[in-house]
Symmetry: C2
Subunit: 200 residues, 2 copies
């Protein structure tokens, strides 16, 4: 074990808890912070404190907000009320909204069903989703979940639960990413892109 000063070791240890940051990267970051002026460390601390104090979950859609009550997605009067886009993480909302293709409301599950990781339907915001669909007269639900095992499991679970209700349920289209080179796209994605081909 390479030895640093105790405070440096402590900072390195905290930084390795971040995703994608190994011990070498953490060392480099910690020494960078140390070499920078104290002003940087202070403003980083300030930013962390602001997050702790200001950001909380919206009580309706469970995205992150700094508003007193509902978030700006829930209070925006220019959005339609009967379309609901379901995402796994709050970060997904910003990306979807930036696409400009959806102007309804959002609902954050905060995770996806994963029997392997021990995440059951009750561990994510599913009952709250079904509650909202009932209470808010939702007409269409778009499931914008990750295209992995957990996302697919969650999509199937939600679809099964909503079956028989007068409700349109869809999920994001699979296909070739824009700018994508067909040479590098796996055969399953290509198969979906062929099946869902669009007339021009």
């Amino acid at each position: 074990m390479i030895l640093h000063t105790p405070s440096l070791d402590r900072l390195i240890n905290e930084l390795t808890k971040l995703p994608g940051i190994g011990s070498k990267t953490a060392q480099r970051l910690a020494y960078h912070i140390l070499r920078s002026s104290k002003h940087y460390s202070k403003s980083l601390r300030g930013a962390l404190e602001a997050i702790e104090e200001n950001v909380h979950e919206c009580p309706r859609c469970y995205s992150f907000t700094e508003n007193e009550a509902l978030c700006h997605y829930c209070t925006d009067i220019n959005r339609v009320n009967d379309m609901l886009c379901v995402v796994e993480d709050p970060a997904d909302i910003a990306r979807l909204d930036y696409s400009g293709s959806f102007r309804g409301r959002y609902h954050v599950l905060h995770g996806a069903i994963s029997p392997l990781a021990g995440i059951a339907p009750k561990d994510i915001r599913l009952s709250q989703l079904f509650e909202r669909i009932k209470n808010e007269n939702i007409r269409e639900v778009i499931l914008a979940l990750d295209s992995d095992l957990e996302g697919d499991t969650t999509v199937l679970y939600i679809a099964k639960h909503l079956r028989g209700q007068n409700l349109k349920v869809s999920r994001l289209a699979h296909g070739i990413p824009i700018g994508g080179d067909i040479d590098y796209i796996d055969h399953r994605t290509l198969g979906r892109a062929l099946e869902n081909r669009v007339e021009i």
Copy 2:
């Protein structure tokens, strides 16, 4: 520009100032910190504060220390006093010392001469180095600087300055890294490894 809440944007902005952290990584880190318990954000802040308050430069060798006066490399009585290893950054000391091959004193330049970046000899701790060599009766100086243009320039500058003094000046050996595959090693390194071949 993808929109987050103001505090999130602030944290993302601070994180992108770290080396190797782009805006996508900063977003991922910021959302991770937000999703983690507030305990994590608090302990990260605590670690930053500890760095700010406790760590300062050793007044003799300019490495980072939390000691009141001199660092533990300067006060360690089991080290020889007449050998000095010169490094660019404080982080280099931990790595060199971990090798176990040097038990003398250190001197941190805090940079290297770089005409391109506008770093002149006076901008790094060179006069302090020459001062120490004179005052501490140094017999051997090992230049453990990076093997790049800036490191080489600094090595030449120091070697020229110390010429004519009764002093052994050396630099780290070039050669094949241990475990290195000859197929992947550039021809200049191979050339050095051949020139400096070691009899067995």
